[in-house]
Symmetry: C2
Subunit: 201 residues, 2 copies
């Protein structure tokens, strides 16, 4: 950056950035829970969801978690967050759908998991609810989108929700406050490196 060589210009640029941030903070006055969607084909969607759970626990909040796809790729976070009495943790019964290969059973499991999610989305003592991999279940048509959107919209005002999974439906993106698209640039696993415990597992 050219500013690096001119302390005056650098300070002016920093002051300008600070002004922009300060103005945005001043304008952001609406105080309510937010609906966050992490989608895309890259790593980090669920991981960021679980990072948000950690952040909420740092504030002493109560958190609900429903994992809609129970795969072999979530052993670490489940072991970790189940330790905390302030986390209500539910895992959908079955494995990845291409492991079970039984659509009827998947639909029933999705329905049971959604019942748990609905109860959490009506509980105003939970400040955060993580609906991990819900997007996949919606994309596969295991749950009706309109029903899910109605429950999300009727949740307690101060409750925030994070929904993860690739292929988030357009209407969910529309309804969300914050949406991040995680794009895979490269992936160790595809380059022949074993999935590492504590990173991917």
């Amino acid at each position: 950056m050219a500013e690096d060589h001119d302390p005056e210009a650098w300070r002016a640029a920093q002051a300008r950035k600070k002004r922009i941030v300060d103005e945005r903070v001043a304008r952001a006055t609406e105080d309510r829970g937010v609906l966050v969607v992490n989608t895309g084909n890259g790593k980090g969607k669920s991981t960021a969801g679980f990072g948000t759970v950690a952040r909420a626990l740092g504030h002493g909040f109560r958190v609900g978690v429903v994992q809609f796809i129970k795969g072999s790729f979530s052993t670490g976070e489940e072991a970790f967050f189940r330790r905390f009495p302030e986390v209500d943790y539910h895992v959908m019964g079955e494995g990845f759908t291409w492991e079970t290969q039984d659509r009827e059973r998947d639909v029933a499991a999705a329905e049971a998991a959604w019942q748990r999610a609905e109860a959490m989305l009506a509980d105003d003592t939970l400040q955060l609810v993580l609906l991990d991999e819900l997007n996949i279940v919606l994309d596969k048509g295991y749950l009706e989108l309109d029903r899910v959107l109605a429950v999300l919209q009727a949740r307690p005002r101060m409750q925030s929700v994070v929904v993860t999974g690739r292929r988030a439906p357009d209407a969910l993106i529309e309804a969300a406050d914050t949406v991040s698209w995680m794009k895979m640039v490269k992936h160790a696993f595809r380059a022949g490196v074993k999935a590492q415990k504590g990173v991917e597992l």
Copy 2:
């Protein structure tokens, strides 16, 4: 999906997916720590980094964390992860650079933080090291990229590292095993909603 209406086709598609995944797992035989980079302008880069810390703790691992930018946006995760004796947590001394507006002081703080990171990157009892917002420090030229890359490459073989922050340098992306690009699709804060504790703070 058309397959939804034809159970046979659906099962065949699922079996095909399972085969692809199984083959990839069989090919991924290299067992070593990975270098992960979370970059882009969207939310979730640091949050996914902290989610990875949670996952590692779930496996009983020891973790090092250096936060290179100490802003007001990381109070929750710091409060949370400092609780754990198995986490070595270091925060760089100063605030956001556009708050301090003193480049000399920022460079000195970056150097001090990097010293802590170097010690972690030589410690094979740490299975994971999170270098949060290191990309920003590199982008601003507060630390020399070649020096950082050399230390990353010389780290213990089974140690994984997650580097976060927007504008990851090209050479770091080149050196990484897994790279996710977080793209902002929309953001509650820009729409006038106050940053929510336990989600963004």
